[in-house]
Symmetry: C2
Amino acid sequence: MTYRAPITDILNTLRTVAPDGAFDEDLWGMIVGEAGKVAGDRLAPVNQSGDAVGAKLGESGVVVPEVYRDAYAAIREGGWMGLPFPEAFGGQDLPRVLALTVLEMFQAANLALGLAPLLSLGSIEALLAHGSPEQQAMYLPRLISGEWTGTMNLTEPQAGSDVGALKTKAVPNDDGSFAISGQKIYITWGEHNLADNIIHLVLARLPDAPPGTKGVSLFVCPRRLVNTDGSLGETNAVKCIGLENKIGIHGSPTCVMEYDGAKAWLVGEPNRGMAAMFTMMNSARVNVGVQGVGIADAAYQAALAYARDRKQGSSPGVDGMAPIVRHPDVQRMLLSMRAKALASRAICYACAAAADAVEMGDASAQAREDLLTPLAKAYGTDVGVEAAGLGVQVHGGMGFMNETLAAQLFRDARIGPIYEGTNGIQAIDLVGRKLATDGGEAMKALLGEVERSAEAARASNDAALAEAGRRLVAAVAAVGAATDWMLQAFKADRSKALYAATRYQAEASVVVGVHFLLQMAMQAAERGASEAGEYAQLAAFLAVEDLFDGDLAAVLEASALSAGAMGDSLVAG
Amino acid sequence: MTYRAPITDILNTLRTVAPDGAFDEDLWGMIVGEAGKVAGDRLAPVNQSGDAVGAKLGESGVVVPEVYRDAYAAIREGGWMGLPFPEAFGGQDLPRVLALTVLEMFQAANLALGLAPLLSLGSIEALLAHGSPEQQAMYLPRLISGEWTGTMNLTEPQAGSDVGALKTKAVPNDDGSFAISGQKIYITWGEHNLADNIIHLVLARLPDAPPGTKGVSLFVCPRRLVNTDGSLGETNAVKCIGLENKIGIHGSPTCVMEYDGAKAWLVGEPNRGMAAMFTMMNSARVNVGVQGVGIADAAYQAALAYARDRKQGSSPGVDGMAPIVRHPDVQRMLLSMRAKALASRAICYACAAAADAVEMGDASAQAREDLLTPLAKAYGTDVGVEAAGLGVQVHGGMGFMNETLAAQLFRDARIGPIYEGTNGIQAIDLVGRKLATDGGEAMKALLGEVERSAEAARASNDAALAEAGRRLVAAVAAVGAATDWMLQAFKADRSKALYAATRYQAEASVVVGVHFLLQMAMQAAERGASEAGEYAQLAAFLAVEDLFDGDLAAVLEASALSAGAMGDSLVAG
């Protein structure tokens, strides 16, 4: 059993969330189909074997599983890195949301390997937005072609979520370059043997930099220096000095990087490194959110195949032992995995589609992208962890054995809620920045959309649509009231709001997820597509299982009061 | 940071749930305290080192981490295996609930090693209940002393949850013994180098056995044959031919066992092996439930210590970077871990206490033990997985690194919901056997208790108690109505009931857990104990976070209908 890309679901999601008029059935269908083949035929087959071997640090540096070589070549040769980037640098100028589908499929098929292009995308975006024309000309074509890969170097031992605490130094050289010295940790694909060069984007402090985030600058630091004719020069003073031993993503080298006076060039303005990071944060976060979606989908596929194959116990209408897929509790788990994968996918795609809308000239979509970003990242990765856990459970004892894909997905999924801003930080971002900045305007606009599809579904003759709609009408009202509570709480007592932020984020995500599923169901019904019935039923299932049914604002208030009353007792040793 | 046994919590829980008059503060306090020292000082320090080494299968058989030798000696030398067993065989005739506290602490400190005594307990119980006097005399003293260990051999590749599908054969020898041939899988501590002998309890089929569970017999099969003078004779034809590579519990050898005409003796009546298994199932399940409790507690301790130590970001009233324990979202996670550990512990202990009540002559407590068993197993292990996940999350990036205890606990915890009957099977047992057998009488009696403590708490002057009580009054009514729905559904349409069984089990567990926490809080207040306030607040927190607030029966009905409508689409390839 290997992963097969869910082409129909992906296209249906795109159809629902793409900016008006952007969905191009023929072109997008072709691209999604081709990327799906690469994912299923080239990346997925080496997912488990790569995990078993893992990345290794040897005498000559980091070596990743040799089976990745051909798989990475498939990504590179297909030009898959370049989808959303300018043609001027070898890209294809296609929408972000389409590129996101490719990223989902690649990461679903092979998360450890899929992180290599993910990190390259971040470097490309940083250089596109902030690099000088010379830097762009030097690095972008070969990053976009996949000939080289990129990394992001933020974290240091004392500076994780708190990036401003970093200490790495950048001292000016005479030639306009800088010498970077310091240690960075948790650097994904920080070193490897699949590409000729690795382009590090590094946050560091200039000698006269003010403390905190206001004194952080961004630098580009190639592993091998690039001569003016484009040929590769000497190896730079940056190397991996240790690999982490992790719960999962064993094929992805997570490096401790040592910079020992490495030659680097300032990207953008001095002391504006954090701002540069922020410009790429939205896309990095949705890219990680879609990892969770992909893991959930892969876990669903593996669990369904196992449940159809594995015979245990009896079932009415079956002679002898029945496949466990006939057992109601197994079906419940499978449906939960599938419904959540669909709902979280739609949120992630809607987030990227909002970014596309901005690029297409709809400036008002920026607030929507900003708002959907924490939901996409947190809900997507939470769904990934939850679905991977259910996948293990469907497998029973086999699921605990590392030889099953289910076990690997369970281990791989767990990083999602942690990196690219923990899901708790997403909740702080949602409440403290996205809601507070515009007084909840973008959220209320989104909830207004939800309300309209809830009302439309409720009025439907289809029983499942009506059930989902009825529950969503109540739940969206509860989230609306909770939004008012949250705005008020954040003004009156910030920490009270923050106690309740994660719960609020989770409930808002389910409401938005059910909304998109309903939209997909109703649109499929309108065009007579065969998926309509299943989507409607899955929307009803998710609505019943997960929508909050009650006074959410009151629960948030009580929860914050209760937790707040005990906070000090935890602080005191 | 290593595990410290939560002596005060354990004793407070015992005080609340022990059979009337059984709690002996001095004796029990001494025993819990001493066992806690063994757990903290001897077992916990080798938890991570044992995990890093893992069990290995070499030329001369299975070798477990050498650091376990001293730790296992501490268990053996302290006589800790013998607590609940008859003095006649070297035991101490102490209550089961007290023995359960010891098991919790040992498994919290070191789950992989703690599984060795756990499996021995199962063998001892089987032989106590069904062994002949000769078998008891031959095996029990040295199993109870810990000189030998025991195993349970049920599972075969085609026979997991469906034990009746097993194929291992038992052919009579001329001397009254039997020759066992076949392969057993997932045999925990099936072979190791910490004890002189291993006593296998094996399910197999006699030549003339009827098919299914009615043709399964139980045998005792020592690894080394025992001479009539008690000395060890030749090695039996049973050995480990493979070790599983698992997500966690790496130090615990999970063996593929090959029986090649191994000499064994029938335990109990022919073809009554399943019944023999059932007699020990309750205690085995609560023993696994308490693993989850222990993991949750250990994860809480590790996360709290890390959160107090790790500095990131700022907090009002703190100069410079603040420890992350000051962040509201981190506090929320810690409180959730602690509240659930307490609630699930109380359910597990209450289950064992009911078994003690039966032994003390209260036959009516049997139905209570039977009812609490699936809740103890499923809720305990679910809490273990959830709390271990939160523990990883509190650690951020460090939590994904195998060097942290948090990461190990996350990996170790995942087996809990799978073995000793998956949690889905617990739900089937709860609904199909425990509720259906007595028409819900035992459940209604339990919910009556819950209702009384909810009413008492609601009437309290203490705000936290009143809040928890108010919510529990509503939730217990909802679970009561859901119980009626479930009884009705099980009669009318079994599969409908089974779609909703897991959700029902989960909601019932929270209701019972909050009830016990409230009892602990109110009793602590009565005797002026300083824990009263914290327990009340944790009860309120758990009530707000986890109690279902709405019409549960309607949700179960809708959920079952929704899942049922899609079931066939999953079955069809």
